[in-house]
Amino acid sequence: MDRADVLVVGGGVMGAAVAARLSQTTARVLLVEEQDDLAEGASKANAGIATSFYGRPGTLEARLIAESNPRWEDLCGRLDVPYRRIGAVMLAVGPREAAGLPAVYEAIVAHGARAELVTAEQARDLEPLITGDCAGGISLPDEGIIDPMRLTVAYAELAARNGATIERSRRVTGFSVADGEVNEAETTGGPVRVTFVVNAAGLFADEVSRMAGGESFRMWPRQGQYWILDRAFGSRLRRLVYPIPMEHTRGAQVVPTTNGSVLLGPSAADTELRLDKATDLATLRWLLEQTRKLVPDVSDAYAIKTYAGNRPAGDEIFRARFDHNIRNLIHVGSRSAGVSVSPALGDHVLGLLRDAGLAAIDRAEAGDAIPTVPRLLNAADPEELPSLDPRYRHVVCACEQVTAVEISAALESRVPATSIDGVRKRTRATGGRCQGSVCMVGVAFLVSQHTGQPPECIRHGGFGGTLGVGHADY
């Protein structure tokens, strides 16, 4: 039977971050993810803002964000993840919003985040594309952007390199519990004897808790939709542009991404359908209207794609604590800031486990970095790349400038891509302007070569979908 000192349930950014930190200790770590890849839940559908403040000041969430924020450059350098501290400008549009600015400002600095009240003119210096109706704003220099999928995969890759076991397509289906402790987890890949369980199941954290005899809490999806605009527009935008937040949401934002495109969103709608990630035109139109109030040049003429994600909302918006009933069960989850807390989350969970008696000693020889793969898209000196690897001469995805090197690295890593979406997540191939109409066949060919599957069986789309339904032999 498999044995784990710590079983992490869920391969989103939070589970992967915890596994990465624990893998640097003597604890034996197993992470199981029911989907066929990491970051298939909220972790692939967010805006990739590494925020410097969120939630209520003084809460654990706010503290972990504050601890995480200064770490981004160092962490992302070690994990080969794109990150940029570009700063945000929050805009008051019209005099009424301007009157509310000081209160918003006070709330932000109460987090310990850097912020500065600015005039409309100063705001325009920060971001020239903002609306002429801007009546003042707040500069937030420590807001940053990150590639959340690369981050999740990199945490898992680090964990695997340090000896943790990362198992995808493996679902936790139940637990055996005795005397207020879980001692075994049942999974689709057989039982696992466990000392501790970290429930990082996102939107399904309530199910996992229930299966383990833990607290009964309720999770529901808070859906958020986005537009993705082309790099040609993104190249003109310098900073994150935020509206004045409302009570329950930060509102629709204009978000540059690390690959140069721009996101418009998210919306926020509580729903009942956990697996529904469909977009709708009314919401998308509303997003355009809202963001155009901030940046008038925003237009669907630049649109590449739209998508939706489900925030794991619950009666508690953030959890990183032990269960009240089951002694060896920890819940980690965050509705809206899981990416932003992730750098400090591992340390926090490790602290909880040690306090509860887990002998997890830091191993001096454990790694804290994964190999860097230079990318053609952002190579300052692209002419030098072929001397590192001749396969850089072969561009597979022209829109995103992805070569055979980046794709092979994704297919050959410790937690490799096994599908078209897996390659897209790790390299951006097929994710650009033409959405794979030119390169998807080439990507499928490379996946086929590495996995040994015929093209029709290559996974594409969610939940085990495939490129084709069979092979025509005649």
């Binding site: 939706a308 561009v395 794979g436 066949v441 029709e456 789309g461 085990g464 339904v469 069979g470 025509a472």
Partner: protein, 271 residues
């Protein structure tokens, strides 16, 4: 990679690119770049018109860089990635003749998740030609070149085929098992693979049950060279005839016209 300073760089060795190069290289030096190892673009290198144009290009000493992708343009140099290396290559003007692609799901305004079975026509055609069965009930959105080529590629796979032509011209969508002229696709539904395409017309909805949706409509210029994406990009010209249905002659015609304009501008010394 070129040794002398090239005057113009043509990206794309389809009919448009070959026409441009063969016309312009009579006045100035030209290089033609194509990501594929062969010229001809969507028509393929055996097409008689392609062969004629290629011979003409050779006669005026057009420099070919095949299996080479143009990736970035900075107004006076283009980054070429190909078998001989990665090189910034000087050029006074970049001609984008990279052809077209069908609109994506988002561009068509078809809402719903990214589902397996929803494929752009060029991918579907490639896969079908490699004998991948795309679906048992295949719905093709569009009626022009891409749609016809898709139908041709899957014809012997035995699937039931439906066409959403987005046009009610007579004769359009001939050869499909069913056709829905006047209806517009608004949504895809399904769990892992697409199961339904929802159509709308005058406030009414119709559901087509299908396991593949091929996007073959509303062609757009394929633009993938950073720095030469928008029409106002410095020193770049776009020669990408776009129409739901085109003929080879129309493309050659358009490219000739563009070449004449460019030629007279060059003669007047303007850039």
């Amino acid at each position: 990679m070129p040794t002398t300073e090239a005057k113009i760089a043509v990206v794309g060795a389809g009919l448009a690119g070959l026409t441009l190069a063969s016309e312009l290289a009579q006045e100035t030096s030209a290089l033609v770049i194509d990501r594929l190892p062969m010229y001809g673009g969507v028509l393929g290198y055996e097409h008689p018109l392609v062969r004629t144009l290629a011979r003409r290009c050779e006669a005026v000493r057009v420099e070919f860089h095949l299996a080479t992708t143009a990736t970035r343009w900075e107004g006076h140099r283009v980054l070429l990635v190909g078998p001989t290396g990665i090189r910034w290559t000087p050029a006074t003007r970049l001609l984008i003749a990279t052809g077209t692609r069908p609109s994506t799901q988002a561009e068509m305004g078809i809402s719903g998740e990214r589902l397996a079975g929803v494929l752009p026509a060029p991918v579907a055609i490639h896969l079908a030609e490699a004998e991948v069965t795309l679906g048992h009930r295949v719905t093709v959105v569009g009626w022009g070149n891409w749609a016809n080529r898709t139908l041709e590629a899957i014809r012997h796979h035995g699937a039931h085929t439906a066409c959403i032509p987005l046009s009610d011209a007579p004769g359009v969508a001939d050869g499909f098992d069913e056709s829905w002229p006047g209806w517009y696709p608004v949504r895809v539904e399904g769990r892992s693979r697409v199961e339904r395409l929802i159509l709308a017309k005058d406030g009414a909805e119709h559901v087509i049950e299908c396991d593949a949706v091929i996007l073959a409509a509303k062609p757009r210029p394929l633009r993938n060279v950073d720095g030469a994406i928008w029409p106002d990009s410095p020193s770049a010209t776009f020669i990408q005839p776009v129409a739901e249905s085109l003929t080879a002659e129309e493309v050659v015609e358009a490219a000739k016209k563009a070449a004449a304009e460019l030629g007279s501008r060059a003669a007047m010394g303007s850039r």
